[in-house]
Amino acid sequence: MTVPGAQRRGLALLAPAVVLTAVVTTAAVGSVLLTSLGLLPLFGPATASLQGFEAAAPDLRVASRESILIATASTAVALVVGLTAALLLLRLAPRRRWLGAPLAAVLPVPHLVGAAAMGLLLSGGGMLSRVFGVEQSTWPELVGGPWPVAVVAEFAWKESAFVAVVVLASTSAALPDLSYAARMLGAGARQRLLRVILPMAAPAAAAASLIVFLYTLGSYEVAWLLGRAYPEPLPVMAYRLYTSIDLAARPQAAATAVTAIGLSVIAAAATLPLIRRLGAAQ
């Protein structure tokens, strides 16, 4: 198989970043896997065992459920909001790219900053409760409450912008013209949405959703800042165990991280064929 010149040049330009990322990721995953299996102990002899997994097992199930709940809810909201924003921009302002600037401005905001802002907005004494004049005692527990509302809101806010930008980037060149063509074939707004716009946006939206899901599954700082103490999602649990003064908890921390990696791999393996199929259809 021959690789076209432009593609070869693109690969060459990407290579430094890809190689570095691959080396760091492989080293990190390898090290955490070995630690979880007792093969890279902080002290004592290396002995292969599943003790790290067994010790963390009861919490792992709960944390996995919490992680999946947060990731699924965040991804769903981000997908709906991001896709809607992208389609509205495509429909209302195909030639007014500046209208997309607020979306692009959200992307570089660090999640930590976003989490702090969301805390100030949604907490009992936060801005929203003051705006609505609701007593702190009667304001719902959006931050650190029984449901990870603030966590999902922060992820959804940031990641909806990501979804919108990805969908816009992949469809803005072709969709307006294809939409005109559909219109000239008698398709009304609903038919254009169902038969042209959504199918055309689907591959980008699906790929962006997978990235959002994997990111929210593995990100700890937002849930650590805005979530409740228990149950905690996998990344928060892994971070807590890893920074514990009990060094013997390191294999459990590694086992937790490996579980998060495993869930990510399963999610990617389940979704990638669908994304490929959607992409191949175009």
């Binding site: 072709a174 013209d177 294809l178 005109y180 063509a181 559909a182 219109r183 000239m184 074939l185 008698g186 398709a187 009304g188 038919q191 038969r195 042209v196 199918p199 055309m200 259809a281 175009q282």
Partner: protein, 379 residues
């Protein structure tokens, strides 16, 4: 399935532009007729189609299909299909589903819509590619599918926005033949924007647009014989422009006397001469209306055109050049002095200042050009 399409005094200006993209455009296309719209880039051709399609709303004027005003009708309900310069096939659908799109959008069940679509694919000779994806097709095949898809929408009016311009000449000829077949079979009223005058020659009538105005609307023969203005003549090509001086009953130019019905005293004009109307003859022969030096030649297929720089003539100003079409097989006598004879009826004096007054030249009825034309026979 075809309708009588009329534009009446249509005007349109894009936001933030200082001039109208369409200005007082009045045109008519009879049912099942083909109107070609030609003009320089930026003259408003594509804007005209988009106004008819409903993708742009005119600032003034009226667009009618039969007795019905289309201005308040959404593009998808106008009964108008449009083929664009790019095929714009839906990449997520196979060829058959692309052609079945209009029926599917109208709520026809998929099996029935696909069955009907097969018939249209047969028309464009692509039945064997029904299951292919658009990315697997060549440029010509894509445009044939786009044509089938447009026809499958059962349009009363078919709009073609330079749909064949990206194809090579052979494919373009194939598409022209296909378009003729389709017109014979379905008889849609058709409006085609094109830069290709050979393509425009397929049309029943041709409208020439310049700066948003229709400067002439006539059949191809009238257009070639009596261009309404120098702009039109330049667009068509093959015309020589000679300065004319008004004299009793006509104008004097480098090729001699040209009669005109009412030459305006003191107002110089331009005499337009088709290259086919001139013949290279012996410089000193009895038929030579003028003489000059062959300074160059161009070839288009088997046709050769010599450029002859005519000698200065009394009352006709300094030297001027004319294009003379040579018979097939005759080598252009570049560097030699020759005589030039006027052999045909393709000598024309456009209305004085036609370009300045082209707005007044517009034929409001849409059926022909108003001009100060005078065609003379100098056999």
């Amino acid at each position: 399935m075809s309708g009588d399409l009329r534009l009446e005094s249509v005007g349109f200006r894009y936001p933030h532009r200082d001039r109208d993209a369409l200005d007082e455009v009045t045109l008519g296309v009879a049912p099942a007729h083909l109107l070609a719209v030609v003009g320089p880039s930026g003259s408003g051709k594509s804007t005209l189609l988009r106004v008819v399609a409903g993708l742009l709303r005119p600032d003034r004027g009226e667009v009618r299909l039969g007795d019905r005003s289309l201005l308040e009708v959404a593009p998808e309900r106008r009964g108008i299909s449009m083929m664009f310069q790019k095929p714009l096939l839906f990449p997520h659908l196979d060829v058959l589903d692309n052609v079945a799109f209009a029926d599917r959008a109208a709520g026809v069940p998929r099996a029935r819509a696909r069955a009907a679509a097969r018939g249209y694919l047969d028309v464009v000779h692509l039945a064997d590619l029904a299951r292919s994806r658009p990315r697997e097709l060549s440029g010509g095949q894509e445009q044939r599918v786009a044509l089938a898809r447009a026809l499958a929408a059962h349009p009363q009016v078919l709009l073609l926005d330079e749909p064949f311009s990206a194809l090579d000449p052979e494919l373009r000829a194939t598409m022209h033949a296909l378009l003729e077949e389709v017109r014979a079979a379905f008889a849609p009223t058709t409006v085609m924007v094109t830069h290709d005058l050979a393509e425009a020659a397929m049309a029943d009538t041709i409208a020439v647009l310049d700066e948003g105005r229709v400067v002439q609307h006539a059949d191809i023969d009238a257009l070639y014989r009596r261009p309404a203005s120098i702009t039109v003549a330049r667009l068509l090509g093959g015309f020589s422009e000679l300065a004319g001086t008004p004299v009793e009953g006509g104008y004097d130019c480098h090729l001699g006397f040209v009669p005109a019905p009412a030459p305006r005293a003191g107002e110089p004009t331009v005499v337009l001469v088709r290259q086919e109307a001139l013949q290279v003859v012996d410089e000193h022969g009895p038929h030579a209306a003028a003489s000059g030096l062959v300074v160059g030649s161009t070839r288009a297929g088997t046709r050769q055109v010599a450029k002859v720089e005519l000698d200065a003539a009394a009352g006709a100003g300094p030297t001027a050049s004319v294009l003379v079409e040579l018979p097939p097989g005759v080598a252009p006598p570049v560097g030699h002095r020759v005589g030039v004879r006027v052999t045909g009826t393709l000598v024309h004096v456009p209305k004085p200042s036609a370009d300045l007054e082209s707005r007044a030249d517009v034929d409001r009825s849409g059926e022909g050009a108003v001009d100060g034309a005078l065609v003379r026979d100098r056999q």
